[in-house]
Amino acid sequence: MGAREQELRAVEALEALGAGALRESPARSWELFDCAWPVIEARVGVFLRSLRLSQEFREDCGQNALLRVWRSRESYRGHSADEFWAWAYRICRHEAFRMAERRGREAVREGDAAEDAKLEDWAADLARDETAEDSEAADEARALEECLAGLDERGRSVVELLYGPDASTERAVAMMLELSKSYVNVLRQKALQALEACLRAKGVEG
């Protein structure tokens, strides 16, 4: 089976789960959950990134969150993929909160040192070939990360969720953050404008 076909099957399985198959028998729901796993895993990663968790903590928290999503499936009451994501997001958020309470909140958020290290890594990856073009790209990438880090918490969450590796719809983000869709749109526009201004201030040209 080709990668594209697998991807389509995963999305179809996710839609079926969101429509209510998650509450079906363990065998049936697992069949779909397993099929949709790559999509679910990727999106959980985005959720945790939007919560600004450190890389190390993200991995621990993510595994627990994936367990809880499966084990809590009978509590799911939605009827669509967006509702499924909103539900899964809440589980991730609660899991992050729970682990943060236990480990100490500061230990799990992206602190300055962790953030700097991550930016250095990413910039280094981009500039691996040491060409002038790559170096410029690395500088721009670093500037973008710094600007993202400077957004307010809600704006950062909206951007991470809407522009993550596996992007959510505005409707889904509205459900996740328990905001209206129009307000999410406002937050999105404001965040983009803030990023634009920030990048301009750092000398990054459009």
Binding site: S25, P26, A27, S29, W30, F33, D34, W37, E41, A42, G45, L48, R49, Q55, R58, E59, G62, Q63, L66, L67, R68, W70, R71, S72, E74, S75, R77, R90, I91, H94, E95, F97, R98, E101, R102, W122, L126, E140, A141, L144, V159, Y163, G164, P165, D166, A167, Q189, L192, Q193, L195, E196, L199, G206
Partner: protein, 222 residues
């Protein structure tokens, strides 16, 4: 002209870069997936305890809890009288259902009556967590959605108590306590330590549970 499309393009580039690097180690992802597959298979095999039976067990348990809490020793309990909110949580910690006040129609002094009555009342801010123990394992109780909130009365003699017995533990506190914190205390220190360590009130009732013989310690925890 707006530069937002440029910003969006940058963010999309960033997403592609991030998407190429899995956030979860593939080996851990595989192990987790296999673990869940095994769980699903075992749950499927155990489907003999049908869902409706669980629903009945949990429904009745909720009613019993209401009775236990409200008929408990009033000097010991802050939650013993007319109005009480029972906040039932799912495993993620989210409040799923507020049973806005429960009142028993029978029973004094903590004895279990043959039936009890559920009424919805106005809310207060007390949180009560529920754990049900069957046999030797503490089952995750945070499944309030299964409770039949429409039920008005249930006869206890109709409870499908398993051969190993049914244990119902109520944990009442001013704030919800994470399930895993409860698990830790239960497994490390036992039921008796819950109140002291978590600052909560607990009520334990056992139905059809064989008492250990003298000198035989009762196993606790998962």
């Amino acid at each position: 002209m707006s530069r937002e499309p440029k910003i969006e393009a940058r963010l999309e580039d960033r997403a592609r870069t991030l998407g190429r690097e899995p956030w979860l180690d593939p080996a851990k992802s595989k192990a987790l997936r296999e673990q869940l597959a095994r769980e699903a298979a075992s749950q499927d095999m155990g489907a003999g305890t049908s869902r409706w039976a669980w629903g009945v067990v949990l429904s009745v348990a909720a009613l019993v809890i209401a009775l236990l809490v409200l008929s408990g020793d009033p000097e010991r309990s802050n939650y013993g009288q007319a109005q009480l909110e029972v906040a039932l949580l799912e495993s993620s910690g989210r409040v799923l259902t507020n049973l806005e006040g429960l009142r028993s129609g029978a029973g004094e002094g903590g004895d279990l009556p043959s039936s009890c009555l559920l009424e919805l009342r106005s809310a207060t801010e007390t949180a009560v967590a529920l754990r049900i123990r069957i046999g030797d394992s503490w089952e995750n109780p945070w499944r309030a959605e299964v409770l039949d909130l429409e039920a008005e009365s249930v006869a206890l003699e109709d409870l499908p108590i398993p051969p190993t017995g049914l244990r119902i533990l109520v944990i009442a506190s001013q704030q919800p306590i994470p399930a895993e914190v409860i698990d830790e205390v239960l497994s490390e220190f036992g039921y008796e330590a819950l109140e002291e360590r978590l600052g909560c009130r607990t009520y334990l009732r056992e139905l059809g549970v064989a008492k250990p013989a003298d000198g035989e310690s009762e196993s606790r925890g998962d």
